[in-house]
Symmetry: C2
Subunit: 340 residues, 2 copies
């Protein structure tokens, strides 16, 4: 069923039917009711490509994912982020699509998406420090919002980010207050912007407490479970081991806990652990009492806000870039205690 047939069926012109269905005022309410009834009856829904061709809008949001890196999509937060974002988009009749693209073809992919008209805007996830994609998107003029920020990019752009510096700063301060002086950092890959900021928060807080950072108590890697296990074990086995760990992700923290237990130590008594917790739906941090003391920030909330911000940008691209800094909460769990 298409517009033409439907309008013939109704004995009306395509114009009127189209207007009736799209809520234009210049159509009699009675006619509108008739049209809507018929549309339902014949199960009519307008062809999205034709509609897009006529309006110049695709009602689709793009998500370009660099293939080379594992930092996205095959990344635990991806599902939750996308779920929330696509739900928020759907509320405004936007869809969401992905393209997994070779690292060196990313610019081409964005360009194509724009001139193609396949999308009205894009979400940029997991920005690195000085991320080139941001500059490129600025020159392109395709609406976008960044989930995260990119240190070193001076031109304005829209972003939604967690206050990673502050979160890890507070976590470090908290450990210091508990009497810890040897605090290790198991960070994510530090070319990623969020990891850089966390490191900064950690270092600044250490400095403020008059403690100096030890290179052998800092690591940076993909946030896997074995990474946490290996690093924690190594550091704990060395002389002057850390009495506390600041860990970049819940999954890595699970590895740290395994290492602690493996060495016959007790987490929260012998060794304290604070992790960042993205509040993933399938990977809870315990139930009523959190297992880990954590800097928590919902990635679903971020997804929602990103989606809303992007729609705003699309509907009015002339507005100045919007920025939104979310604070992580520091939730107390069983993994921290006074320094032994």
């Amino acid at each position: 069923m298409n517009l033409k047939k439907l309008s013939e069926e109704l004995g009306l012109s395509q114009t009127t039917v189209s207007r009736a269905l799209n809520g234009y005022p210049e159509v009699n309410e009675k006619t509108r009711a008739r049209v809507e009834a018929a549309a339902r009856q014949f199960n009519y829904s307008p062809n999205s490509r034709a509609k897009g061709l006529a309006t110049g809008r695709s009602m689709m949001i793009g998500h370009v994912i660099p293939r080379s890196s594992q930092h996205e999509m095959v990344n635990p937060i991806f599902g939750d982020f996308v779920a929330a974002a696509s739900e928020a988009l759907a509320a405004h009749d936007y869809g969401m699509m992905f393209a997994r693209v070779d690292n060196q073809r990313i610019d081409a992919a964005y360009t194509a998406m724009q001139s193609n008209g396949t999308v009205d805007g894009v979400i940029l996830q997991g920005p690195a420090v000085e991320d080139e994609r941001i500059r490129f998107l600025n020159t392109l003029g395709l609406p976008y919002v960044v989930h995260g920020r990119s240190s070193g990019v001076t031109e304005p752009y829209s972003w939604v980010d967690v206050n990673n510096t502050r979160a890890f700063g507070r976590a470090t301060e908290f450990l210091v207050q508990l009497g810890h002086t040897r605090i290790a950092l198991l960070n994510g890959v530090e070319k990623m912007d969020f990891a850089t900021r966390r490191r900064k928060g950690y270092l600044t807080a250490l400095g403020a407490a008059g403690l100096s950072a030890r290179p052998d108590h800092m690591a940076s890697s993909e946030m896997t479970e074995p990474y946490g296990f290996r690093q924690a074990k190594e550091m704990l086995a060395a002389p002057n081991p850390p009495t506390a760990f600041l860990v970049a992700s819940l999954i890595t923290a699970l590895g740290v806990r395994r290492a602690i237990q493996d060495m016959g130590l007790v987490m929260g008594r012998d060794v304290s652990v604070i992790t960042h917790d993205d509040d993933l739906s399938y990977l809870g941090n315990g139930e009523d009492v959190p297992i880990f003391t954590a800097t928590r920030s919902s990635v679903r909330l971020a997804g929602e806000i990103v989606a809303e911000a992007l729609i705003d940008r699309i509907t009015d691209p002339t507005t100045p870039p919007t920025n939104r800094l979310l604070e992580a909460e520091l939730v107390l769990g069983g993994s921290t205690g006074p320094a032994p």
Copy 2:
């Protein structure tokens, strides 16, 4: 830049330019080269909506996700599955899109997607037992492939699945061989088809070994970490505790391990654990030596195969449904040992 301008630029008709770019034979190779050069120079890429309108193809694959359930998307395997599938699709110039939809509107969403022409086919993930969506899609005539199967659906349909029954059957047999007689099952939600099959494999193998299943040694739930912890702890604390656990997911297995350690027991010595492992990229099962003995099956591989199968169905919808049963391998890790 659009076709019209490009053809004017070249002094050729739109027909010729279009044919040149789409590899049709009725155009001189010299002209084709000229056209291609110009297309590159002017950075021309055809408007996908217009192309779709003209061809009737959208070059897009849909993925409808029921909002009510947490079984998908916000599900740890989602990212890996989608990454692999969308990569395979991209190789054939297909994109992939999502729609998160209220549970009761799923049929409507599929219908709309089809009559809309927004997608050429859909992927159906996480089928339940007797999943109604399959029947509906059959009546609709929209090409699709199921990731998983649905017991109780008799009509033919295309699917790609892991041999869950066999995997859990083998795992159970293996535990029996090790001398275990009290083997607990921490299953996923049993309205999900994969969980039902795993249960069947478990029960059949127990029966074959002359062992009877104990209701208090079987649980079924969302596969979270706390679920594994709570259930394992409870079962281990009861009289005649299990000496082995068969667990539905790596994340849940982490909870089981935590419970075992929490009770001062040693995994692999006092209590054996076998888990299913989807081989997720961000959640490795140890490094060289797996932590857990596991039934392993790559969800990325499944994603690839699903994508290929779907493209086949779209290009030739008359072919009979294709089915593909992947065998899980049983990999030996440190979590199993002879019954104490």
